[in-house]
Symmetry: C2
Subunit: 196 residues, 2 copies
DNA sequence: TGCGACCCATACGGTCCGTTTCGTTTCAGC
DNA sequence: GCTGAAACGAAACGGACCGTATGGGTCGCA
C-alpha cells in the first residue's frame, strides 16, 4: 500500500504537508491490517510512514483521533432503496458485512470501538458518529413509514438501534460471515414487529 | 476491598496458596473499578494484591484469562418468569442493565469485550461464554413458544441474538441508563414480530 | 530578509510487558 | 528427620511504547 513513500520526506515550509498526512493515514491503515489492533502503535505508524512521532502528535492528539480519521476516509456504503423495508434492511446488513469483511473498515471500526472503551475522546467521537448513522438508518424506516408499510407510531430510532446493535455484535464477535438467510430472518422478525 | 491482605504473604509450601489467588482476583476487580480498563495492568494488580508478577503469570497466562475469571466470579443474574414474553425479556434487560451499572460487572465485561478485539484467547472465551448465554436467553423464548405465545418456526437463537446485541451495544456506548420505556418498546417490536 | 511554522531525527524519563534470578517457606516422599 | 520440589514475594532484566523536548533543516509569507 503506502510503501516507498519518499524516504526522507522533507518539510514543504510553514504549512501542513499533505503528503505527510496521507502517508500517515495510509500507514495507519496498513499497520492495522497487517499487525492488527494489538500491533497498532503510534511508533509503528511513524516507522511505516517514515514520519516523526511529533508530526503525528501535532495533528492527531491521540490514537483514537487517528483511528477516527482513518475510518472516515473509508468509502461510504450506499443503502439500497427497493421499496420493501425487509429488502432494504437485509440488503443494508449484507452489504455492510461484506464491506467490513472485504476491506479494512471492519478492522478499523472494531479497533475504534475497543479504543472507545478506554479513551473518552474515542467514546465521544464514536457516539457522535453513531448518532449520524442512526439517523441515516432511521431514514430507511421513515421511508417505509411514509409508504404505509410501518405503523405511524413506531420510533425509527429504536429500530435503527436494534439493527445497528445486531451489526456491531457480529463485527465484535467475528461473525461477519453469517448466512444471508439468518440475517434476513433476524430482519424479518423486527420488520414484522413494526408493520402497520 | 482487599486491603490489609497480609502484607508480605508468604508461600504455604509446595502447593497453590488460595489466599494469593483470592487477593489477586479481588485486586484485579478493584483496579478495574478504580482505574478503569486503561489502568488495568498486571503490574497494578500485583501491587494492589501485594503479589509478585510471576505468581500471577504462573496461574493466568494473560490479562484476558484474569479478566475472564474475574467476570465468572461475579454473581449470576436470575431471569424472571412472568408468563408473558414481553415482560420476561424487558425485565431481563432492565435487571441486566441495573446489574451492569451498579456492580463492577459492567466494567469487567466491557473490558473483556475490548480485550477480545486484540487477544484470541479472550475472543474464544467470550464466544464460549456467549454461546452459553444465548442458549440461556433462548430458553425464555422456548418457554414462550411452548405456551403458544410465539410461532413454532421461530429460531430462538436469532431472537436471543437480537436481544443480546441490544444489551451489548448499550453497554459499549455508555447507555446503561436507558429509559425503561425505551427498552420495553424495543422488546415489544421484536416480540410482536415473532408472535404466533 | 528574517520570522515562524512545518518537517524529520533523536533522545529522554516513564510505564508496562513477560521473564529470570534469588532467597525463603513449607509440603510430600522417602 | 532429611531432602527435593514447588510455591511465594521481591527485584531486576531487555524490550516496546508512551508522550514530550530539542535541534537542525526547509520553506512560505510579511
Amino acid at each position: 500500500m503506502g510503501e516507498l513513500a519518499a524516504p526522507g520526506r522533507k518539510s514543504i515550509g510553514a504549512k501542513r504537508n499533505p503528503e505527510s498526512a496521507d502517508a500517515i493515514l495510509e500507514a495507519a491503515e496498513a499497520v492495522l491490517v497487517e499487525a492488527g489492533y494489538s500491533g497498532f502503535s503510534i511508533e509503528a505508524v511513524a516507522r511505516r510512514a517514515r514520519a516523526g512521532k511529533p508530526t503525528i502528535y501535532r495533528w492527531w492528539p491521540s490514537k483514537a483521533a487517528l483511528l477516527i480519521e482513518v475510518y472516515q476516509r473509508q468509502k461510504r456504503l450506499e443503502t439500497p432503496d427497493t421499496g420493501k423495508l425487509e429488502e432494504d434492511l437485509a440488503g443494508f446488513l449484507v452489504n455492510l458485512f461484506a464491506h467490513w469483511r472485504d476491506t479494512s473498515s471492519g478492522n478499523v471500526f472494531r479497533s475504534l470501538i475497543a479504543e472507545a472503551q478506554s479513551d473518552k475522546a474515542a467514546a465521544a467521537a464514536l457516539a457522535d458518529y453513531s448518532k449520524g448513522r442512526r439517523s441515516h438508518t432511521g431514514q430507511i424506516i421513515e421511508r417505509a413509514k411514509a409508504r404505509g408499510e410501518v405503523a405511524a407510531d413506531i420510533d425509527a430510532g429504536i429500530v435503527a438501534d436494534l439493527i445497528a446493535s445486531y451489526a456491531w455484535r457480529h463485527l465484535l464477535t467475528n461473525r461477519l460471515d453469517e448466512d444471508e438467510a439468518t440475517i434476513r430472518t433476524a430482519v424479518r422478525y423486527v420488520v414484522r414487529g413494526i408493520a402497520a
